[in-house]
Subunit: 297 residues, 2 copies
């Protein structure tokens, strides 16, 4: 990762985490069990890639970072909520997430479901309040709320998780892998850059270009994730490795092998950069596409 | 129930169900398992009391029913989502809901969690789209989204369910019961009438009056629910009776006995009607308060 991108991500991560700290009730505020569970998962130390995409897209379209901050935090909350529910015993039954016990392992299944519910619904209120304060135009606020809802529903994360679970152990093909990548990963990554554009009042051609970038980046990012699952150590990932193979998950890697997966991830990252090229040359979005496929955790 | 209210509720129920039918993807649209689970719970035959409250509040404030319809459906989706998650094995472990198997009994826990997630997040997009179409002013759309989010979060349903579960089997007092009633029931009922008011652009004094009505009605409705749990038959309720006593739930009835609970419910219903009196005399909201405490299912 370039020094410049490293610094950009570090600053954004710090600012996002400071804002999230303000947006979630204190751990001792009743019901304390709920707020502790939310904080455990939200502050477990993620890369904050999606909020960085929101903010970088806003800035690439000439918008101010401060106006994107609530939206960036909202997207990170949605991402965390989906991780909490995906880790539940009735789903992926994961014990570890980012080197920490999964939410349900510390707080029990009921509280984990409810902490996920909180993190999945509060973002909509946050964006509505941000628009009511005047950080966003009312139209942009409503459009962002629509994007976030769509990224979760029948074209997004929730549908992707249903198909992912139904698919376990069954023979997969490229169509299934495409569906999972676009719903489970692509939808929220695309929503991140689109919402960033909406904060800045991006022009239609910029929105189109951000959409293509997001779709390509989402796919590149997920293939890179699958490669890490197969090749990295548990210490690097903070969770058990080779979990895709164990659960017989449908991945590009499983279908086409490691070498082809590496080439495809690199190709997609380059194509994502190309999608921005007409108008956006020196944004962190360009370096982020490289980082998405070369990171080691 | 008066004939007039009976007809009003029947018409509203039909219109709400017709609209919900349009808003949820068909049962055979992929992922079909998700959409079938959503439809199973959403069309299990509820009273549709909350959407009726939205619509009646809109009409009482001079607004048109058609403009309230998306909001009414959104509130009903949120209500259904909370029932699906509350029924999960890790929570109340309920097998029956409205005479039908609970969602997780038919579709498994994972799909039930995800169907609840869908029904909890789609409402925000629906309201945003309704405002974008011009049914609501952008400001009203944003305010309604804020109300719905608040009715779920740390002051609403999710917090109420956390405390309800933590409280089971422990000694309760009036403060605990107040907390549960205001969070688990009052928050969404109050949000229903407030959102109805916001659709119609209600004046501040009308909003205040609707808020008091909702808080009192929510409490009356829940005490009546507890009385039915203790006195009605399984055939009437469509679920096992005496479940509060079995789970040692904190209720007004458990603290003060049946006679006092009946008197309190009647008193609260009358007080709720009084809260509307200055400006709203012949709305179905008045008869709804009687119905909330005299219904037999």
């Amino acid at each position: 990762m370039s020094t410049q991108l490293h610094e950009y991500l570090a600053v954004v991560k710090r600012e996002v985490e400071e804002t999230l700290e303000q947006l979630v009730p204190p751990a001792d505020e009743p019901p304390a069990e709920l707020h502790r569970a939310i904080r455990h998962s939200l502050f477990a130390g993620g890369k904050r890639l999606r909020p960085a995409l929101v903010i970088a897209a806003t800035e690439a379209c000439g918008g101010a970072r401060a106006k994107a901050m609530a939206v960036a935090c909202a997207i990170e909350m949605i991402h965390t909520s989906s991780e909490i529910h995906d880790d539940l015993p009735c789903m992926d039954d994961a014990d570890l997430r980012r080197g920490q016990p999964a939410c349900h392992r510390l707080f029990g299944e009921a509280t984990a479901v409810l902490a996920g519910d909180w993190l999945m619904t509060t973002p909509f209120r946050l964006v509505a309040e941000s628009a009511a304060r005047g950080d966003l135009s009312p139209q942009a606020g409503l459009a962002i709320i629509g994007e976030m809802g769509a990224a979760l529903g029948s074209e997004g994360l929730i549908a992707g998780q249903v198909v992912d679970l139904a698919q376990e152990g069954k023979p997969a093909d490229d169509a299934v892998v495409d569906y999972l990548y676009s719903h489970k990963t692509g939808a929220l990554i695309t929503a991140s850059v689109r919402c960033g554009g909406l904060v800045a009042g991006a022009k239609p051609e910029q929105m189109l270009s951000l959409t293509h970038y997001g779709q390509l980046l989402g796919r590149a990012f997920q293939i890179a994730d699958d490669i890490l699952d197969a090749t990295a150590s548990q210490a690097q990932l903070g969770k058990p490795v080779a979990s895709d193979a164990r659960h017989e998950k449908a991945t590009y890697l499983a279908l086409h092998g490691l070498e082809a997966a590496r080439a495809e991830a690199a190709r997609l990252a380059e194509e994502a950069q190309g999608a921005l090229r007409p108008w956006c040359l020196d944004s962190p979005l360009i370096a982020l596409a490289d980082y998405a496929v070369t990171r080691n955790y």
